[in-house]
Symmetry: C2
Subunit: 343 residues, 2 copies
């Protein structure tokens, strides 16, 4: 592997000049710069990242921590890939690399992140799957490393975050169902401690009140965030004596399992039970009857996350903002047939 020394020797100039030429410093003769650039391309030289990071005290890399546990495995589908596409695009404009850091099931997310942070593997971090009480937040604050969370936490959030507009979804879904005459509306939320479950549940209860509908705690159904979870939601609904006439889901994949369970019972979504799904994805588009759900751009979400993160990085003073970005990402209703019925 060719280093800066070899390149300098090849050009018969000093390594300092080579470095300055490559880094676009203004105080370099344009003729010299041209020769350096050409030779670098020819010899396939790029600065060794360890040497550069050590000297600069920064890695030019941003970490995106994801959890590859069983739950996310079955529900996330293409969510992260879409977001990653947006992130890489926005970060690349500022010469930042994105590295995805998968925390395995067997390791505590807090400990994993701590290792990453103290070793200074990356300059900034994006965390996802935020818990209601997420110990990673104080860890990152204490370490003083710029970060943004994809998802709110339960605390007083004095940090940057971007989250889906669960409130908007809950209100739009409930208002729509109420307009069709539904009075008994259930909601399916994840049974883990992930914060979005709490957020969505609260928004749902709030939406019921706003529409003058009674709240029945039995109508909040906890389930795994997966197809199978959707299936068990179906089980629960079918077993209720006072069965709801509508259900709102908070994970795309749940719809698949619920459709299946209903079908086994001879019931049809939109005729026997109104179903409102969550995120419109390739799967939702192929369900029959078509699922009423909510649309968003994963790419734009990724871009928004990147912008929010850049605004926390002192290394980018022109983008830096004193106030942390805290943004709810809007989701737009897509009308399907799964809640066509009126009651």
């Amino acid at each position: 592997m060719v280093g800066i020394r070899r390149l300098a020797q090849h050009l018969d100039i000093s390594i300092g000049t080579v470095s300055r030429a490559l880094n676009g410093r203004p105080d370099v003769n344009e003729e010299t710069r041209k020769r350096v650039l050409e030779a670098a391309a020819e010899l396939g030289y790029a600065p060794n990242q360890a040497g550069r990071s050590l000297r600069r005290g920064a890695t030019s890399a941003v970490g995106f921590m994801i959890e590859s546990n069983d739950e996310s495995e079955s529900n996330s589908d293409n969510f992260f890939l879409g977001v990653i596409g947006g992130l890489t695009g926005a970060l690349a404009q500022h010469n930042l690399d994105l590295v995805v850091l998968p925390c395995s099931t067997s390791e505590d997310p807090h400990d994993y992140l701590q290792r990453i942070v103290v070793r200074r593997l990356v300059d900034a971090v994006i965390i996802s799957a935020t818990q209601r009480n997420d110990r990673r937040i104080p860890l990152l604050k204490k370490a003083g490393i710029p970060f943004i969370a994809l998802g709110r936490t339960g605390g007083a959030d004095q940090h940057a975050w971007v989250d889906l507009d669960f409130e908007g979804v809950a209100h739009k879904a409930v208002a729509r169902l109420a307009a069709k005459g539904h009075k008994q509306i259930a909601v399916a939320v994840p049974d883990s401690d992930i914060n979005l479950g709490h957020v969505f549940r609260n928004a749902f209860v709030d939406a019921l009140a706003q529409n003058g509908l009674p709240f029945d705690p039995d109508f909040i159904i906890c389930a795994k965030s997966s197809e199978h979870g959707g299936y068990t939601v179906g089980d629960t609904l079918l077993a209720m004596k006072n069965r709801p006439t509508a259900v709102v889901l908070v994970y795309e994949m749940m719809a698949i399992g619920l459709y299946r369970r209903l079908s086994e019972a001879g019931l049809v979504p939109g005729r026997d039970l109104a179903v409102v799904g969550f995120r419109e994805g390739p799967l939702a588009r192929f369900l029959s009857p078509a699922l009423t759900c909510f649309r968003m751009s994963l790419l734009d979400l990724g871009t928004g996350l990147a912008e929010g993160l850049l605004a926390t990085m002192p290394a980018f003073p022109d983008l830096y903002r004193a106030e942390p970005v805290q943004k709810l990402w809007p989701m737009e209703l897509v009308e399907g047939e799964s809640d066509a019925m009126e009651v």
Copy 2:
């Protein structure tokens, strides 16, 4: 952030001894080692990765390059997350970190990988979505960086790879359909230049011959590797005057779209058209009628990949093998109802 200097000063010993104690060198007084370990835990010290990498000439990180393009976005679902789980587990045992390196749609995979490699961002690389003629292979060979491919290429493969046993799948599927009396069997393959399409097509043609069945080029249907692709496969099949009685799919997600298209035409899989899917996933399990498909463990595949990679790394002489690992990953038939019919 506390460095080794601070830690040494705090303990009133030299940084050399601190380093040796932390790195488990035998030539350290056990009492000293204990004090160092305790102080490191107390002060939250871990060696700066840039400093360590520069000195050692190795990063202790393995890169897993994935492509976050539109196609993979809609087909990969949980495939990578599962594999990543297996990879992290196996690599962690050798103190290697896994970093996922997403190549964005807009960048050429070859150029992206070259940047990663020459900057020495990682010690070894796993590439995926191999093309028939994949320029990344010669790049990695020339750079002399240990690597393994998830997927074969079209060339004479003198490098390590692990791939799914497409041959086994094609033969099992065709033999099973032939036994049920099918003589006109179609296959759906991806329309991109990804190598698995070629591999599967060849295996399919081979399997037809072995079962004494004629080969009709019209029965090879190219489609996008997505739900929508499955839908267009349905379109193609329905439009054929000489319609096949069975179809074998090479992507899990295709089944969803095909089911949908058949349903729209009033046809039922397993009654009007025999369908054999590819990988059993959470989605396949929820299709109705149940999809006949093939089962594998993503976790084991990840572990196998890691082992194959470690065997190429001179840094692990006890695992090192002169012969590159080249392994077809077996897939086991899971009987469903989607090919129940006999003809």
